[in-house]
Amino acid sequence: MAIGIKKVARPRRMSMGETLYLLEIVKGLGVTMGHLLRNIVRQENIPTIEYPEVRRVMPPRFRGLHRLMKRPDGSPRCVACFCCSTACPAVCITIVAGESPDPKVEKYPVRFDIDMLRCIFCGLCVEACPCDAIRMDTGWFTPPENTREKLIYTIDMLLEK
């Protein structure tokens, strides 16, 4: 069995001028100065997005923070079927179901908590929902908070978004 030999592309030997560095350094300085001047003259071309005044426009399918949808009467559309929490690979959704005061609804979530610290924003909960009650179309990513508790979003917070 022949052993295959692979030729690795070696970098070209540097010429005398290049080994001296001096000229190359001047060239490099030219490049950086070029950027500097260009950016000073045409500031609008700098790609930086100045958050929070300016926000990146999220693509329509961007999976951001969750929100719970409401019925026309303002009650949550969620019927606490547990499909989202079952589908969730991060086990970040906690639901406690209860008997709804509205006899037409029957079952509703007494508690619906999403632990945003555990959520991996995979969107499987949205896929799983049979009632279109949970969406991830807020275009928001998790905001910073100073305690872990604040990042466990309760049903009221999720309904407001």
Partner: protein
């Protein structure tokens, strides 16, 4: 013995077997709703249609007796079409309730739809006939008439098993529905079975309602600890919380049924549990690590035996504990503490209701076991008398309560003892008075055997490890005994049961293997 072929397989079955049952023995599944092995055959769901050679039309498998030379096909195109058609009919008025229906996940409609249906609905949602939903019809049952497929299992159960007949069909055609008679709710102690036998979500359990989705539950084979009948059950739990008990088929004990009070037994494993060893110092209970708790209890017991003699120590066993644990408790009392005071009582707080079906007056799962293991019931009153007289210096109490004593009586009684140790699962009057509490595992947190009223030794299996810091009583007793110098080998319940089989005559020749899932009757008299 008629011989017949089903899907080309030749099978011998006893005379009088239906095709459905015969197919089951051949490992072929025939879909069905109204058929139930423990109920009469109604044949009204039409799901079990099969093709029988020389019959012009399809036959229902549940009500066709196998004859010699019969040739049955369950997988022909004709059968498939018929079954799908029947399913479509059944689903015509079925509401789209799956997200809120407790049956979802174990629903016959869901299972068979995925297997035989998968059709698009040809019936507009707005044309569906609506019936009354969420009706509390008494017992443990909520009725949703809309979801019903009119299989009549519930009606037959109430007529044939309980004989009470509260449910009946009403109306005609599309508007047919099951219901109770006005003002006559379910009135028997076996209503929970209706939720089990209902193949759809029409009858669901009030207690389990919206608690948990069934696909999140895991099951453990167990024995209902509610009475001496020892019904075989499946304990359903998620993580460390028990959600429900469902009957497990054992034709010798409970067939496929279970009583309503038994179904609520699971709550004791969830609520008011003792989860950490406690040592009471100067009247203040303090959580202690196991090593320290066991050592200090052992030391106090040894101290009492040394100072006042073995007669100053008493052990009150409990028929709530398994054979293995009672055996070790007896050994502890007889061989390690050498006290003459070992007894138990089968009396419990409560009405002691009994009937001629499943519910027994004795509310302990293992009274017979305790008797067979030679733990005396007569000595119990003796011990109580001694305690009341202040002759007992240290008392080891198994179980959550003492016989049928009320909380106040228990407190008064235990006030006479300088040192009370309790091995139990739940808080109560004894745990409030005890000087040391050693928390033990509930019936799903450990394995073992119970001996029921008829002497049937039945196994129960561990579902999940003991909650909190609780330990199985076998470990606790062994730990105590070894700290008192017994030098027992620590092992699981299987090892202890082998020892029982060797030394105890009624259990001779038994092993976990021979008990199997359904149990075995112990010899001798208790």
């Amino acid at each position: 013995m008629p011989n017949f072929t089903i899907n080309g397989i030749s099978v011998d079955v006893p005379q009088g077997t239906t095709i459905l049952e015969a197919a089951k023995t051949a490992g072929i599944e025939i879909p069905h709703y109204c058929y139930h092995p423990k109920l009469s055959v109604a044949g009204n769901c039409r799901m079990c249609l099969v093709e029988v050679e020389k019959f012009p039309k399809l036959q229902i498998a549940c009500n066709t007796i196998v004859t010699d030379g019969m040739a049955v096909k369950t997988d022909s195109e004709k059968v498939k079409q018929a079954v799908t058609g029947v399913l479509e009919f059944l689903l015509i008025h079925h509401p789209i309730d799956c997200p809120i229906c407790d049956q979802a996940g174990e629903c016959g409609l869901q299972i068979y739809y995925m297997k035989y249906g998968l059709h698009k609905s040809r019936y507009a949602v707005e044309d569906k006939v609506h019936k009354k939903k969420v009706q509390d019809i008494g017992g443990q049952i909520i009725l949703d008439a809309e979801r019903c497929i009119l299989c009549s299992r519930c009606i037959r159960f109430l007529q044939e098993v309980t004989g009470t007949g509260e449910l009946e069909f009403f109306q005609r055609g599309d508007h047919s529905e099951i219901s109770i008679f006005p003002g006559r709710p379910l009135d028997n102690r076996y209503t929970g079975n209706l939720a089990d036998i209902c193949p759809v979500g029409a009858l669901t359990s009030k207690d389990f309602r919206f608690k948990c989705r069934v696909w999140l539950l895991r099951g453990a084979r167990s024995i209902c600890p509610g009475c001496a009948n020892g019904c075989n059950v499946e304990a359903h739990f998620k993580e460390e919380i028990l959600y429900r008990l469902k009957p497990r088929q054992n034709d010798e004990v409970n067939k496929t049924w279970m009583c309503d009070p038994g179904r609520l037994e699971y709550k004791k494993a969830n609520e008011a549990r003792l989860l950490t060893p406690v040592n009471r110092e100067n009247g203040i209970p303090k959580a202690a690590p196991w090593e320290a708790a066991l050592s200090s209890v052992a030391f106090r017991l040894w101290e009492m035996v040394e100072k006042h003699g073995p007669g100053s120590v008493a052990v009150i066993a409990s028929p709530q504990f398994s054979n293995e644990e009672l055996f070790l408790a007896r050994k502890l009392a007889d061989e390690v503490l050498r006290t003459p005071h070992l007894g138990f009582s089968l009396r419990t707080v409560g009405d002691g209701f009994a009937d001629d079906f499943l519910i027994k007056a004795d509310k302990n799962p293992n009274t017979r076991g305790a008797k067979l293991l030679g733990i005396s019931e007569e000595k119990f009153d003796d011990i109580v008398q001694n305690v009341a007289d202040g002759k007992i210096r240290a008392l080891l109490v198994f179980g959550n309560g003492i016989a049928d004593l009320s909380d106040a009586e228990t407190g008064r009684l235990l006030a006479n003892v300088p040192f009370v140790v309790q091995i139990a699962t739940n808080e109560g009057a004894v745990s409030r008075a005890a000087h040391a509490i050693l928390p033990s595992a509930s019936f799903v947190e450990r394995g073992g055997t119970f001996t029921n009223h008829a002497g049937r030794v039945q196994r129960f299996w561990m579902g999940f490890p003991p909650r909190g810091k609780a330990r199985s009583a076998i470990e606790i007793i062994t730990g105590l005994a070894n700290r008192l110098g017994a030098g027992w080998k620590s092992g699981g319940e299987a090892q202890v049961f082998r020892a029982i089989a060797q030394s105890e005559a009624p259990f001779a020749g038994m092993s976990y293997e021979s008990l199997g899932e359904l149990g075995q009757t112990a010899g001798g008299k208790g």
